[in-house]
């Protein structure tokens, strides 16, 4: 077909061409909008030309047409690759744009956690959701998702977002990757001449999420002690040990400090001694670190809290500006309201940010984001100075990325929250995660354990058995105190003789002991210092004596083994010392030991003085040294019985042998008693110190029992029918006699002399009498009881 038109001027055409170089005005806008189905596209062409006479002609062509069909197509775009954390639930969104020319239904034919991510196996249990028109709908599994999507008509050019939601297990490791993707189609229904069409399944690009270890708050506890006062100062420092995540608000903290709070909390247990928290000294101080170390740039506040509750239970905490109430059991600092930049995005409600250059490790924080400082008074009492008697640990409670809040705190038990081992705790409302029993082990949230002890006080008591604190004045010369206390011990003196038994007491009276006789003396050491100690015991033997030390094998019996095998020392030289070391005595406890003396087999005076010095291994001066003394008595009252036949009773002419007697003969017994202490013996200084030794009032009782045996036994009672009443030279009538009759045990006593007496006792001088040493200056040092029997 053609249409001829009147020619126009070629000049006019040229002018139009030139003007077309610049077009301003109504032009078609380039558009990506697709042509709707059933649109008829028609076209017609034309030709313009001229003839030799410059006549212009225009002619048109035929018209061709086509009709636009359904042309479904989609474009799938993943969201940006993410940095993810173990425990976190991640949503990977895929935008599905309808790039076709009509509205259609999107379907997901495959997808989820897919691809080659090496941590894909830790991302099982993925679910689906979709977002359209600003509304997000959880769809669960893929079947449900497609069922939902079938009801959504996505217009051409618009998009729907389908999300793969997967939980990342805690086993995922830093550096691992999880990949997700979807494959989708879109279907256009029949629309007029446009036929139903489904696009070719199209896979999206994969989204690759990189695993980074979750936030880890490193907490370090440091301590120092004032050398003068013993006050212990604790500094708790915390920082984020990762470069990836920050410590987030924790619902656990809300439960702990109250419903109006939400943030992160770092606390320290007030150290205890003997199950009681130590008293706080001064005020607590919270100091924020620089932002380079992770303290939020703005918005955050740090507040000190404390509680007196033994378990730090929720609701028991009190905020303070620094003054800590009496009986505080825990002190902490609460940080709230921070904003951090994490993975390039500004994130609110993150209270400790990733440090620019994190360099902390659990228990080692050199650049803290926050510090808390408080001091305690050192404890006193038994064991308080023992090594590590004071122990404490700090904790942090923070939220992290885990969907079910994963509280970083050891042993926390809060409702359905998880503890650091990812174990869902039992429902125990109000029990908080202030558990100071677990040391650092990332990501426990706990600090290092810090241990210290009170300044040591070395105090030892060394004294008589069972009474280490006894005071005394063993020689009357020194102060009556617990370093001059003494134990008086008597021992069998063996054979006692007097040099002139018929003349009675004289200044030269002496005694001897059996060679090698041992005299054990029990003693007790008590450690009343605050530190367990070890002692060196040095025993000093009296002149002429020997001594060694041993552990008391049978305390309280008055006897010792007498063998060095009981942890003892070597036997000393005569008059020497014996040293034994290493007697460990915990603070507040006692140890019994024996000093075992060996008496000399020489002329012996009545008594000697030994001593034992206990010296602390920890502090061997002052109160760390204590002595006790041993007064070794061989017995200072000598009793000598003699007999005289005052009448043989024999008929004349009878030859009577020496010491012989006939019936009706009379035998007179004389019992001499005297204090053998010889203060005039200036050869022995110790003897001099005993010049005051005398019997205790009323205790000198002499017994004459004539019924204890026959033959060589004491059997004068068998002749009691002829006995005569005894007399005593001391105290005249003051001496108190008691008489018994009958055989063996006899009957009595009675104060009345009578025939048949077989036994009597004499309290010499009565209840107030004391037998004093000769030359004591006053009093009686010697006396004689005389009684007779007539041989029947």
């Amino acid at each position: 077909m053609s249409t001829l038109q009147r020619p126009s001027s070629r000049l006019l055409i040229a002018a139009l061409v030139a003007a077309a170089c610049v077009i301003v005005g109504d032009v078609r806008q380039a558009s990506a909008t697709q042509t709707p189905p059933n649109t008829v596209i028609s076209n017609t062409s034309s030709a313009g030309y001229s003839d030799a006479a410059n006549n212009n002609y225009t002619t048109n062509s035929n018209t061709v047409t086509v009709t636009v069909q359904n042309a479904p197509s989609i474009l799938l775009t993943p969201s940006s690759n993410k940095t993810i954390a173990p425990g976190q639930t991640i949503t990977d969104a895929f935008t599905i744009q309808n790039t076709g020319n009509a509205a259609g239904d999107v379907q997901i034919t495959a997808g989820g956690v897919t691809g080659t991510g090496n941590d894909n196996s830790y991302a099982t249990g993925a679910t689906w959701s979709y977002t359209y028109g600003g509304t997000t709908t959880t769809a669960g599994d893929l079947t449900t998702l497609n069922g939902d999507l079938a009801a959504v008509q996505v217009p051409a050019g618009l998009s729907i977002v389908v999300s793969v939601i997967y939980p990342l297990q805690l086993l995922a490791t830093s550096g691992g990757m999880v990949t997700t993707g979807v494959t989708g189609t879109i279907t256009y229904a029949v629309n007029g001449a446009a036929l139903a069409q489904t696009s070719t399944p199209l896979p999206s690009a994969l989204e690759t999420d990189t695993v980074k270890a979750d936030v880890r708050i490193d907490v370090a506890l440091a301590q120092s002690q004032n050398a003068g006062t013993g006050v212990i100062t604790y500094t708790l420092a915390a920082a984020d040990g990762t470069a990836t995540w920050g410590a987030r608000d924790s619902a656990a903290v809300k439960l702990l400090l109250g419903s109006g709070t939400q943030g992160v909390f770092i606390s320290a247990k007030v150290p205890q001694f003997n199950s009681a928290p130590l008293a706080i000294s001064g005020t607590a101080v919270a100091s924020t670190g620089s932002t380079a170390f992770g303290y939020p740039v703005s918005g955050a506040t740090a507040t000190i809290y404390y509680t007196t509750n033994a378990t730090g239970a929720g609701g028991s905490w009190t905020s303070t500006t620094g003054a800590i109430g009496a009986g505080a059991t825990y002190i902490g600092v609460f940080i709230t309201g921070g904003t951090c930049t994490i993975n390039g995005a500004s994130m609110p409600n993150v209270e400790i940010c990733p440090a620019a250059s994190p360099n902390s490790t659990p228990g080692n924080v050199s650049n803290p984001a926050i510090t808390l400082t408080f001091s305690v008074v050192q404890p006193s009492g038994t064991g308080s100075a023992d090594a590590n008697s004071i122990s404490t640990i700090a904790n942090s409670i923070i939220g992290d990325n885990a969907t079910t809040e994963h509280v970083i705190a050891p042993g926390i038990t809060i409702n359905t929250l998880q503890d650091s081992t990812a174990t869902i705790a039992s429902v125990t409302s109000g029990v908080q995660g202030i558990n100071n029993a677990t040391a650092v082990n990332a990501p426990s949230g706990a600090s290092n354990v810090m241990q210290i002890q009170a300044l040591a006080q070395w105090v030892v008591l060394n004294g008589p058995y069972g009474n280490a604190a006894a005071t005394g004045q063993y020689d009357g010369l020194f102060t009556n105190d617990n370093s001059h206390d003494f134990t008086a011990v008597s021992f069998g003196s063996g054979t006692y003789t007097t040099t002139n038994p018929t003349a009675g007491y004289s200044a030269t009276t002496s005694s001897t002991t059996t060679a090698g006789a041992t005299v054990p003396v029990e003693n007790t050491i008590q450690n009343i210092g605050n530190h367990s100690d070890s002692y060196t015991i040095v025993a000093q033997a009296p002149a002429g004596w020997k001594v060694f030390i041993e552990t008391d094998p049978s305390p309280g019996t008055g006897t010792c083994a007498g063998a060095a095998s009981f942890g003892g020392s070597a036997l000393s030289a005569l008059g020497g010392t014996s040293t034994s070391s290493g007697y460990a005595v915990p603070s507040g406890t006692s140890l019994n030991y024996c000093a075992v003396y060996t008496a000399p087999s020489v002329t012996y005076l009545s008594h000697a003085i030994g001593s034992v010095v206990a010296t602390s291994a920890g502090g061997g001066t002052g109160l760390g040294v204590n002595s006790t003394y041993h007064l070794l008595y061989a017995g200072f009252v000598a009793i000598t019985t003699t007999q005289t036949v005052t009448s043989t009773g024999c008929n004349s002419g009878v030859v009577v042998p020496a010491s012989g007697v006939c019936p009706t003969g009379v035998i007179q017994y004389t019992v001499d008693y005297h204090n053998v202490v010889n203060p005039l013996d200036t050869s022995n200084a110790q003897e001099q110190s005993f010049k005051g030794v005398m019997t205790k009032a009323g205790t000198l009782v002499i017994t004459a029992d004539g019924s204890t045996g026959s033959g060589l036994g004491n059997n004068w009672g068998a002749f009691s029918g002829g006995a005569s009443q005894p007399t005593d030279t001391t105290g005249a009538t003051n001496s108190v006699f008691a008489y018994y009759t009958g055989a063996a045990a006899g009957t009595g006593p009675t104060a009345v002399w009578q025939a048949g007496v077989t036994k009597f006792t004499a309290q010499i001088g009565g209840p107030t009498f004391q037998l004093v040493p000769a030359l004591y200056g006053s009093g009686v040092s010697q006396g004689t009881i005389t009684y007779s029997v007539t041989v029947s």
Binding site: C21, T35, A47, N56, T59, N101, L195
Partner: protein
């Protein structure tokens, strides 16, 4: 009217008659428009497939329009320019113009043509001129060099893609 004037008027009135007698030699160009789809194989090669007007096409379909012209007259056509439209719902495919002995020009409004149409664009720095997006083209014209001899033909083609 004088004689001279009357003679002149008669001459002028007779000119068409002379012209009619001389119109024996003149160009008569007939224009034909054809359409086909451009099918691109997986290996990148392409071929044309007939496109019946009754067969619907989908979005993205490439349509090649071929404008053919034949001078059925007795004289050569001078200054021949063949024009084709870029229909609504389609977009011109840049670089797809093919034709012998001539050059292509484009139009943004169907009136003015240029080998490279320009538009004014407002920028923060002020109003500037820049080349128009080919998607804005509404017409294309092939301007033949020289003459189209009588009884001769010429054709040029261009591609559009259904949006």
């Amino acid at each position: 009217m004088t004689y001279a004037r009357a003679a002149a008027a008669l001459f002028i009135a007779a000119l068409p008659l002379f012209a009619a007698a001389a119109a024996v030699a003149k160009p008569v160009v007939v224009v034909t428009l054809a359409q086909a789809t451009v099918v691109t194989a997986a290996d990148g090669t392409s071929h044309l497939a007939p496109l019946d007007g009754s067969a619907p096409v989908g979005s993205g379909t490439a349509i090649r329009y071929t404008v053919s012209a034949k001078d059925t007259g007795t004289d050569a056509a001078r200054g021949l320019a063949l024009s084709g439209r870029i229909p609504e719902g389609t977009a011109f495919t840049p670089g797809s113009v093919r034709g012998p002995g001539g050059h292509a020009e484009f139009s943004l409004d169907g009136k003015s043509f240029s080998p490279r149409p320009m538009v004014k664009v407002q920028t923060p720095a002020g109003e500037i001129m820049q080349a128009a997006d080919p998607g804005q083209y509404v017409m294309i014209r092939w301007v033949k060099d020289g003459l189209l001899d009588a009884k001769s033909s010429i054709a040029f083609s261009y591609d559009v893609r259904v949006k």
